[in-house]
Symmetry: C2
Subunit: 437 residues, 2 copies
Amino acid sequence: MRGLQWLRRMVRAAGSKARMVPNHGFCRAAADNQPSAQPTFGLLFDIDGVLVRGKMPIPSAKKAFQKLVNPLGQFLVPVVFVTNAGNCLRQKKADQLTHVLGVPISQEQIMMSHSPLRMFKQYHDKHVLVSGQGPVLDIAKHLGFSHPVTIDVLREQFPLLDMVDHSRRPKIPLSPAVDFPKIEAVVLFGEPVRWETNLQLMVDVLLTGGYPGKAPRQISYPHIPLLACNMDLMWMAEAQSPRFGHGIFMVCLENIYKKITGKDLKYEALMGKPSDVTYHYAEYLIRTQATARDWKKPIQTLYAVGDNLMTDIYGANLYNQYLQEESSRKGSKARMQAAAGTRAAAVSQEDEPINAWEGELSATSATSCRSILVCTGIYDPRLEVPSNPSDCITETVFHGHRDFRFDPALVEPGHVVEDVDAAVDLVFQLETFSPKE
Amino acid sequence: MRGLQWLRRMVRAAGSKARMVPNHGFCRAAADNQPSAQPTFGLLFDIDGVLVRGKMPIPSAKKAFQKLVNPLGQFLVPVVFVTNAGNCLRQKKADQLTHVLGVPISQEQIMMSHSPLRMFKQYHDKHVLVSGQGPVLDIAKHLGFSHPVTIDVLREQFPLLDMVDHSRRPKIPLSPAVDFPKIEAVVLFGEPVRWETNLQLMVDVLLTGGYPGKAPRQISYPHIPLLACNMDLMWMAEAQSPRFGHGIFMVCLENIYKKITGKDLKYEALMGKPSDVTYHYAEYLIRTQATARDWKKPIQTLYAVGDNLMTDIYGANLYNQYLQEESSRKGSKARMQAAAGTRAAAVSQEDEPINAWEGELSATSATSCRSILVCTGIYDPRLEVPSNPSDCITETVFHGHRDFRFDPALVEPGHVVEDVDAAVDLVFQLETFSPKE
């Protein structure tokens, strides 16, 4: 996993001119009806396990959201939904939430795990293998990829590769496509179906340097770039215990690759919570909403409400750590500038924004990001309470991704509440925010 | 992995009265036509990568088998096919081989990876979850299991568990079966299809102590007994590079379990090559054939022909190691008996055969088992030759199962030949055996 500094360098190298200003749902006209109390905080909500479980709404969600809007259905504070789901377009997710919460949600309030792929322009014109469910090709094309290839297409081109399911083996001898272009990168959007097919073909592509029909004389390593969205190991649906998420599929891929080659599978990038790129972008969406409502005060505090210690809590705490380091760095810089009597002396090239979106994205106004854990999802307080009171909550098995270090401080929630309604009440209380017009 | 000593104790504990005398295909009447040269060796052939690749026969196989039979189609030496495949009944495999080799093969010459499950009588009347492809229920019942449950049945009983494939999620809210009996063991016959479903449901069963509909207050560990057949990581079909085998599925299961629980998945038993139980049973089938042909000389040497270093070669060498230790032990015992002047003094209870089949199974006549590697399958001499001549062939990545230690001596083949025809020629030469009537 790599951070924003790395992303800056990468985007600069690719000569990107991307513009990341979305068409936000909060138009300036709406500012006429703004409440007298202008918020200085924003809310980030996880969806599964906080607002819904599988298809079922969590009862307190509707109640909580009634408190967050005025009678016109306008939000009283900036709200972004940060989900690691990635199997649909943002508009569909917004429509689902509008139905579940009973208040209008726009697609500009939705941040999905694959959203940062817009920035990886150096792969957009390449022949990339994509995996996942739902309209994966549409999602890839919306993000900017012009030549995505699905696992199913690869399977048709190379019919001898997928042999696990006896009933799907070719009935007659077939030859592989001889002139199929090289696969130049692999992008994992989310958990696919028929894992045996996906795992076999992906491993073939990685071992052969993008030519799965050939038998390599030696294994191609380092393998071609691999990018993955959504590392969630498990998630909470209607069943009483957590269900497999994309992180479980990644565990399979990583360990098969390791078993066959003896080497580590490496990710060019990991997106979605808890990666910091995700929170940067979420904060940017929060600021955009505030600006659209003509709220002048800077958004200083973010509250991230989630049910998963390893994604929602870890991610919020990691971003909080970043904000505090950034704040301290800014303080030092200001002192240095004051001492030197000049601004330019203290600005390195690394600190300059690369282009419009990146300058805006990295210009954080928040100084802290607080994590709030709810008990309606994957977190089960009965399981997590250690038998020995001197043990802390974080001494359970690490369910984060292989490439994220286990740091007890990062999985310790700022607050633990029963549900999302209690979370909203808590935030209003902490901010002494009165949602009256 | 545990050996024959452990198996003896286990079967004794279960009070088994199993009889392991199959209806062999070599009837005594055939002895009238026996060749003048009586063999003192037997042949064990792997199938995939030695005789066939996928559905395609390997050209030299037919030629080799013409040398092994007399004009009546009777084998001149005892021959057993030892395959790790486990997705069909033995008769089907025998019919396939008869077609491929052009000589009549009987089901008594077939040893499949699941064959030793006949001996695990303590599970036969229990409610066991079985996974694999093909007629898994029929196979389980033939082996003696009276209450096998498939993954598909479990999925129907607990419709909220299998959530990875969005299109197969339940459309309406459903409740799990409340009175479904406890699953008491899990048996992996071979690689299933829809790995996400199989992995999720197996992990649910293991975490909940056999009650997958319940949310456990704590993870059940040690988990319920898990037995697995066929550890082959990969195998050679028509494609130019090896295809995923059941061993890859097991890598997924082991690593998912480890990631979720932090603990190791444990096997009650691992069957199929390279486990020694498999070779004991194969030798027993070889002896049975010799007896049926009225060949009086003991079978002293076994030759195991295969394409896989980690199963065929490792397994044959491991069994050879056992035979040599056994031979040395017998020598010591004889010397002790001679010294003590009595037989009884040197026989411990551990050494007594438990019942008819086991006495016969463990009464080895062979004193060595020699491994012969062919280059028509998964073994690729181009890949395996190290660039540095001081490296040996065994310094490649270990593709054996997690629970088998890597021992360079065990993956070093006794002989390397081009194909199965060359293997037969080599054996005849080593044994100075002339197949003339």
